[in-house]
Symmetry: C2
Subunit: 332 residues, 2 copies
Amino acid sequence: MKKLINTPEREVDEALAGMAAAHPDLIRVEEPNIIVRKDAPRPGKVGVISGGGSGHEPMHGGFVGLGMLDAACPGAVFTSPVPDQMLAATKAVNGGAGVLHIVKNYTGDIMNFEIAAELAQAEGIEVASVVIADDVAVKDSLYTAGRRGVGGTVLAEKIVGAAAEAGADLKTVTALCQKVQDNVRSMGMALTSCTVPAAGKPTFDISDTEMEIGVGIHGEPGRRREALRPADEIVEMLVTPILEEGIFASGDRVLAFVNGMGGTPLIELYVAYRKVNEILTGRGITIARNLVGSYITSLEMAGLSITLLKLDDELLRFWDAPVKTPALRWGV
Amino acid sequence: MKKLINTPEREVDEALAGMAAAHPDLIRVEEPNIIVRKDAPRPGKVGVISGGGSGHEPMHGGFVGLGMLDAACPGAVFTSPVPDQMLAATKAVNGGAGVLHIVKNYTGDIMNFEIAAELAQAEGIEVASVVIADDVAVKDSLYTAGRRGVGGTVLAEKIVGAAAEAGADLKTVTALCQKVQDNVRSMGMALTSCTVPAAGKPTFDISDTEMEIGVGIHGEPGRRREALRPADEIVEMLVTPILEEGIFASGDRVLAFVNGMGGTPLIELYVAYRKVNEILTGRGITIARNLVGSYITSLEMAGLSITLLKLDDELLRFWDAPVKTPALRWGV
């Protein structure tokens, strides 16, 4: 295993220490390993938090800051955070207007966020939750009842964070998050596996001529293993099932998000974006906004995912709103 | 070779088409493969251009836009662009106030930028050039007489671009670029090789237990090959030679840039940043600004480089100035 770490046990703590040292203007890191917006809690503002296993950087900690998350709870690599973290984050960002939990649909995350929500409610904090489950690849999976939560989470955090920043109440913010979930779909693929430091060996074996279509962000199996193909065909294989969901129609405006899994060069993501654009244009769908880069990763896995979000004026306005976080920043 | 491409021959063209489709508000792509700021030329503004082989994304094309580069010339992967590109870029950004060429010190880049500068001058455009040669690892290298130009280039492009945006004349902008070069030093290392698509096989062989200290951004040999060590020791091995340059002293303020080579997860870069911060703090050097991420890459190579730039008020002001490019954005 080749990693730039000291020991697997210390990796997450040391990365958090690095983040805290690099971005003291935006965030603070508190026990028990939560990343909190520097100026939280903000009185009267709905708090928005998320969390999940580490190894999907910059998600979620890189999205803490103005106009996005108020706090993030990073677990060990590819391991759910514990309820104590979610409870501490909920309390740290509670400004009296309630807290929204944005939860990716993995069994451990769901369970632990539920426990934390109950504990927080017992302490008098109003909590709402929305589950993101946007991956069309598989119906159930290794760690999931129902669809997995993937790239749509990044878009939900941005849009919902902007609404909370603008002063929307908990009910409105929650409904908006559900609206994102209802209008977003994703699918991914991998060329290579990644190696979880504590495991010390690749999560799965894959030959030099194969790819995994529909892979999960922990390297979970997808729809099928097959021979590597040219990028344009791969993009077709990901976009087609998304379009078959029945959400996207000619005349629609979408946000197209081409996401690198970690080990894929940006030059390849732009090759893919070119084809996404070509396919959607051919279907009469306009890409009104886009995001191209590695924003929800699987450590050093080579591969990509494609996410489409159907936009309306409200989603567009909150997407465009200012954001200032370690990993996403514009307008300020 | 596992790549998300169609053919090696089409990769750069298709990536440029993707960039043009993704960022029409910021850039345009013109023949013969140049990326130009959308509103160039701007009358009275010094034009700032750079270029080099592709595969180092987001450099340089991702840095074209307000407050940074006016144009970039991408060659084939790890291959210098041709003088025609640099000439076309120079003409495209010439607003009558002259054009600065920021050139990384590689023999092909130097030669071709020189030819382009002569051709542009013959057409009446005033051209100045600054060579970035910040890599302390080796004195000469496979593609270089003198030190290689690496991470310092990113910082130079940001700072110099801000000065040009603010209306500085060619002489001032050129002197500022030289000042960055005089105050910036870098060193990198690799855990794995990368594969140039046209070659189809890894640039170098390295065993599962070794690392290359002082590697170049094309996978050129560094100082030595040795056994993999913990991240903290690796950071020490990179920072120490930089500090031994005699530029950085107790009481100084620096910009610390921890750069991923492409295949290194962000979580590992923050582990490394933590140690950089610890070492510099211990030496009485203050990290006044930082940049942590993959900004000058070697395709999918795993590894990192560390760059330190000694700051003064002028450099700090231009670093903080607004920038709006595909890959770097703040303040707007």
